[in-house]
Amino acid sequence: MGKVIVVTSGKGGVGKTTSSAALGAALAQNGEKVVVVDFDVGLRNLDLVMGAERRVVYDLVNVIQGEAKLTQALIRDKRVETLYLLPASQTRDKENLTPEGVEKVIAALKKAFDWVICDSPAGIERGATLAMRHADVAIVVTNPEVSSVRDSDRIIGLLDSKTLKAESGERMEKHLLLTRYDPARAERGDMLKVDDVLEILSIPLLGIIPESMDVLRASNLGSPVTLADEGSAPARAYFDAVRRLKGEALPVTVPGEKRGFFGKFFGRKAA
């Protein structure tokens, strides 16, 4: 049985889709069988970021409504064999996303893949709550700024109350992915510090992705950053995040600070 991961944030534009694609690709590059599911019905982007926009025939809503089989809607990545995409519908209404339909699709994907990554839309409405509903693990994407942190806090509250795991009395595993981190701006005090964000959200840190032109360039090329340039700083940060996601105890380094500086950042984890 595969693991279902929801990538969510509350606020828009923080890097959910970029991170879903990068994490999915990084897992697949390690040989795992991965499907990335776009839940943003009406505003789909994941197909563009993954460079599959010309190959979309059927989508998630078609599958839910029984107009297409799951295997017909899945798009295999051209670069990594074990990476698949289930695109969202751009033309349908999000009302077509029914809880029963989503449950069926997720159950089928869990059987066939090691990892099911659900790219959540922004907001706290239907699409977002359905994307998180069946998750085993949540990755909360946050930028180091107050509005993003507050929205993430709201989302964490929903993860602890509105998901199947929470309703059955279990604890949802939650990780923080801090994106668009700019060491220079953090130095000047224009951004929240890593420790401040961790103190407010109090969930373990999965990784810090530096703000980088590489990310934008990769998106425009239609390639997850981990595939476009494996050696770039953001790609390395995503690869490290994936190792932590798989349970490895890898210390998190803050970009711009010296790695392993007196082991200061070893075990940087909030309760």
Partner: protein, 244 residues
């Protein structure tokens, strides 16, 4: 002339009501009630009474008749619990819900009025029924309270082992203790308890209030920000001070 508008204070208050559970047929039940009332005149006097009709197979006319029968016995019904909306008219007592159980009322003993007094004089007063001392309710939360969450606990004190996020809200009948940073709103003593206090390890609150008197972040003294702080009520003024 417009002066500074006085904010309206909205306060909750809870009263203990006597709950009556009528049984069918009402004639027999009312006869039992008459018997009880005869033993102790004025048992129902000045006591708010709530009628619990949950599970009774009656119609609107039956219920109206019952309320009238009770009225004629000086039993004033302040509300009706467990009734379908179709049973209640605009001239009837309002529907009530979310009742919480409390200790039972002691029905008057037979012949309590007269002969019992002599016995009571012979017995030591202490042995007469110790007053039930009920511990004050408290709620302990060991997780952070997230933005958008609202914790409502009118029964007593709330203790949070963790932080209260910006956009979260704690409402307590008693005091509020936050062993973490208070960034959201904390409202203590909401049921009219002016003795309640608010304690936090780090004050970054958006609003604090005790018994309806409040301070917003702007009104708080700037040097209290980020410090361990307590807040209490002195007369009609909400006071704040550094802890420890």
């Amino acid at each position: 002339m417009l002066t500074k508008p006085r904010p309206i204070r909205l306060k909750g208050r809870s009263f203990l009501a006597l709950s009556l559970t009528p049984e069918l047929p009402f004639e027999d039940w009312l006869a039992g009630l008459d018997d009880l009332a005869a033993r102790s005149a004025g048992f129902f006097l000045r006591r708010p009474v709530v009628l619990d009709v949950d599970g009774l197979d009656i119609d609107k006319a039956d219920l109206r008749k019952l309320v009238e029968d009770l009225n004629s016995r000086n039993v004033r019904v302040m509300g009706i619990e467990g009734a379908r909306p179709s049973l209640l008219g605009p001239d009837m007592p309002p529907a009530m819900s979310d009742g919480r159980p409390a200790s039972d009322f002691e029905p008057p003993d037979e012949g309590e009025a007269g002969e019992k007094q002599d016995d009571a004089a012979a017995e030591p007063v202490v042995a007469a029924r110790p007053a039930p001392t009920q511990a004050l309710a408290s709620l302990v939360v060991t997780e952070p309270v997230r933005s958008g969450q609202s914790l409502f606990f009118p029964e007593g004190d709330v203790t949070i082992v963790g932080s209260v996020a910006s956009g979260a809200e704690i409402v307590a009948g008693g005091s509020i203790h936050v062993y973490g940073t208070l960034r959201g709103r904390a409202m203590a003593g909401t049921a009219g308890n002016g003795c309640a206090r608010i304690f936090c390890r780090k004050l970054e609150a958006e609003l604090i209030a005790i018994d309806g008197f409040y301070l917003t972040a702007e009104d708080m003294e700037p040097d209290l920000r980020g410090r361990a702080v307590q807040a209490w009520l002195e007369g009609h003024a909400l006071k704040t001070g550094i802890l420890g």
